[in-house]
């Protein structure tokens, strides 16, 4: 949350028009955010199946770790809406919302999380290693290691004269890696088509950012590399969209990189099963009041673009899609063990 005046209905209409948003695009953003929310909740539900009452990380239909992005939908959707299919998204260990916002098929995404042969990577990668070549979507489970890869993808576009853009997501914790500064330097020096989106959810695991950052925000660091930077309200999809849309446009036109820092909050633990205890209930409640989905809903209402009924219908459709995806994924077959030995080399 970045404190700023809540616009009146009139101001809102002006802002929306200036951002180039219309009823259809705003409703589509609302739909995608709902899809992500329900997808995450459905995955969470299946994750806990077989893990209660006694939690066992290796039991149930989804094994291992999962990192949900409930609460952070606005950042993913705001930043990915201006993208085209040929643009690249480089994501992190917390990647479901980015994937869905980039248009990755929810069924294949869910199937990978279940380790099914119908998954994005036939079950080889799993939740921490999500890739979709067609949607141009990449991740890494090792935090802070993708910055230079994003720079490299942007270099590739520039080198070949393609007017595509790379959006690189990072957590505020990961941005403490030295490689973050290296990537900013290179991207600025070569004016690469890179948009860095920092999801500042205030914590890296159990560690609050005041314990690990010398400055409260990272966006200021961009300025020292001559990179324009925005601090935006990550709980407000319009705010995120406005900043990233112009950043992506500039990158596409050859004007180089931008950093967008979106202050947000994750509503769930760092991973499911996170014992918690490091955030106060009061803090959590404060952020829950800023839930980006009802917030956008109220704005749609204010603009006269979607009343209760329309929004309910959109939510229901999105929910059905997400739930169906998770169901189909869970019912899909597991890979044949022999596949384990295939595919090390291309």
């Amino acid at each position: 949350m970045v404190w700023r005046p809540e616009p009146s209905a009139e101001d809102l209409a002006v802002r929306i028009a200036e951002a180039g948003l219309e009823q259809g695009s705003l409703l589509e953003m609302y739909r995608t955010m709902c899809l992500i929310r329900v997808f995450e909740e459905a995955i969470r539900d299946r994750y806990w199946a077989g893990k209660t009452p006694d939690f066992n990380i290796a039991a149930g239909p989804i094994r291992g770790l999962i990192h949900l992005a409930v609460g952070q939908e606005a950042v993913a959707v705001g930043a990915c809406t201006p993208l085209r299919e040929a643009d690249v998204v480089v994501s992190t260990h917390r990647a479901h919302h980015h994937a869905l916002a980039k248009g990755v098929d929810p069924t294949r995404l869910a199937a990978e999380i279940f380790g099914k042969v119908t998954g994005l990577s036939r079950g080889k990668g799993g939740e921490l290693h999500l890739f979709d070549r067609n949607r141009r979507f990449l991740t890494s489970g090792v935090v802070g290691t993708s910055f230079a890869q994003a720079t490299g993808a942007a270099f590739g576009f520039q080198y070949r004269g393609e007017r595509n853009v790379v959006v690189m997501f990072t957590g505020e914790g990961a941005a403490n890696h030295g490689a973050f500064a290296e990537a900013l330097n290179t991207a600025s020096l070569w004016q690469l088509p890179l948009v860095v989106v920092i999801e500042d959810n205030l914590y890296a695991g159990s560690v609050p950012k005041w314990g690990t950052q010398a400055v409260n925000q990272h966006y200021q660091r961009a300025q020292s590399h001559n990179i324009p930077a925005y601090l935006v309200d990550g709980m407000d999809v319009i705010d995120v969209y406005e900043a990233t849309e112009s950043a992506i446009g500039r990158a596409r036109d050859g004007y180089g990189p931008t950093v967008v820092e979106a202050v947000c909050y994750r509503y769930r633990g760092h991973f499911e099963g996170d014992p918690g205890g490091y955030r106060s209930r009061q803090e959590e409640e404060t952020w829950e009041r800023l839930d980006p989905i009802p917030r956008l809903g109220r704005r749609l209402e204010q603009l006269g673009w979607a009343g209760d009924e329309t929004r309910t219908a959109v939510r229901r459709m999105a929910a059905e899609e997400a739930i169906q995806a998770v169901k189909v994924a869970e019912k899909s077959p597991l890979p044949n063990p022999a596949e384990a030995l295939q595919g090390v080399f291309a």
Binding site: F55, G115, K116, K124, L128, S140, N176, S206, Q213, A340
Partner: protein, 339 residues
């Protein structure tokens, strides 16, 4: 004596006892305070020693490991704890080119008493970047000692030794031996002395005596090999299980003695198969026991593929009791060479 469950509380107890005696010991890493480095290796230390000595560092292996190296040059004893051995990659150069080599390159002037504790190993659906062993990579670097405990008793004693060693030591703790709630546990509850004690590096342990075949293993594969050996006994195959305990220094004598006794050796490892631990162990075995071997040395390791996520794939590559049993049984059945 009292019972401890797993290597994680054993390591944290050893750290605690050293920290109580030696103000130069401090802990640095990811989530080391609140979450005890996630797998419990630094559990309870922050409550006792405060945030000045149990420090959540800004992310980045280069930063954390470089900082530890620098601090060590001033006489401190840094303990770096990371959630996963896979993350050592982000500080690889600090280990490989500095922490490992500076004592030698400085002609013995500059020591690097850095202790690194990481969780490793798969079998719980962690995916490659949270399941790999890769200790062979570090054992390969001259100048680093490598500890691979299989019991809580060893984990405590070897950690105490690490903290007294003037050299860098990496302790690779298998996740499925940590004994942490919510994580499958392949170890056993053990009686572990409360008082501090140390176990010298470079002493392998014979976990089970046998006469037909020797199984040499590390960490979780020791437990699996002991189970496989019990099963082999039902087929009248007497298997000896040797726990390596420390890869560097390596107790070649104990391993070779067992190989000479049984004449048949199976080397088991959860690290990648090629160009690593199993190859090195096999070299030493043939060099010391060639005249007594009655069959070529065999191995069970992770075939050379990154650890896959999906359960049937993961189970297909990580050495389990069944694969160890099958291979040992087949090895025991090979007819002896005419001598």
């Amino acid at each position: 004596m009292r019972t401890l469950r797993g290597i994680a509380p054993a390591v944290s107890e050893a750290l605690d006892q050293e920290m109580a005696n030696n103000p130069e010991v401090f802990v640095l890493g990811d989530d080391v305070s609140h979450w005890g480095a996630r797998f419990g290796f630094t559990g309870g230390l922050q409550e006792k020693y405060g945030r000045g000595r149990v420090i959540d560092a800004p992310a980045g292996g280069q930063n954390v490991l470089g900082l530890a190296a620098g601090a060590a040059t001033t006489g401190l004893r840094p303990v770096v704890a990371l959630i996963s051995g896979d993350f050592l990659g982000t500080g690889f150069d600090q280990i490989y080119d500095h922490i490992a080599t500076v004592n030698y390159l400085s002609g013995g002037q500059v020591r690097m008493p850095v202790t690194i504790v990481v969780a490793v190993g798969g079998g719980y659906g962690g995916g490659a970047q949270l399941s790999q062993m890769r200790y062979g990579l570090f054992a390969h670097a001259p100048g680093v000692k490598v500890v691979v405990p299989s019991t809580a008793y060893d984990a405590k004693g070897l950690t105490t030794t690490a903290l007294a060693d003037p050299n860098p030591v990496i302790i690779f703790g298998h996740r499925l031996l940590t004994g942490q709630p919510g994580v499958p546990f392949e170890g056993e509850d053990e009686d572990v002395p409360e008082d501090p004690y140390s176990i010298p590096f470079g002493l392998a342990a014979v976990r089970r005596e046998g006469s037909d075949v020797t199984i040499v293993a590390t960490a979780a594969t020791v437990r699996r090999s002991v189970r496989a050996a019990a099963h082999l006994a039902e087929y009248d195959i007497s298997a000896e299980v040797v726990d390596v305990r420390t890869l560097v220094p390596l107790d070649t004598d104990t391993i070779v003695a067992s190989a000479r006794k049984t004449g048949r050796v199976l080397v088991v490892d959860e690290d990648y198969q090629s160009f690593g631990t199993t190859g090195e162990l096999t070299f030493r075995i043939q060099a010391g026991a060639f005249d007594r071997l009655t069959a070529p040395v065999r191995r069970v390791a992770v075939p050379d593929v990154p650890i896959p996520y999906s359960e049937p794939l993961e189970q297909a590559v990580i050495p389990n009791v069944e694969r160890i049993f099958d291979e040992a049984r087949s090895l025991a059945g090979v007819s002896a060479r005419a001598s």
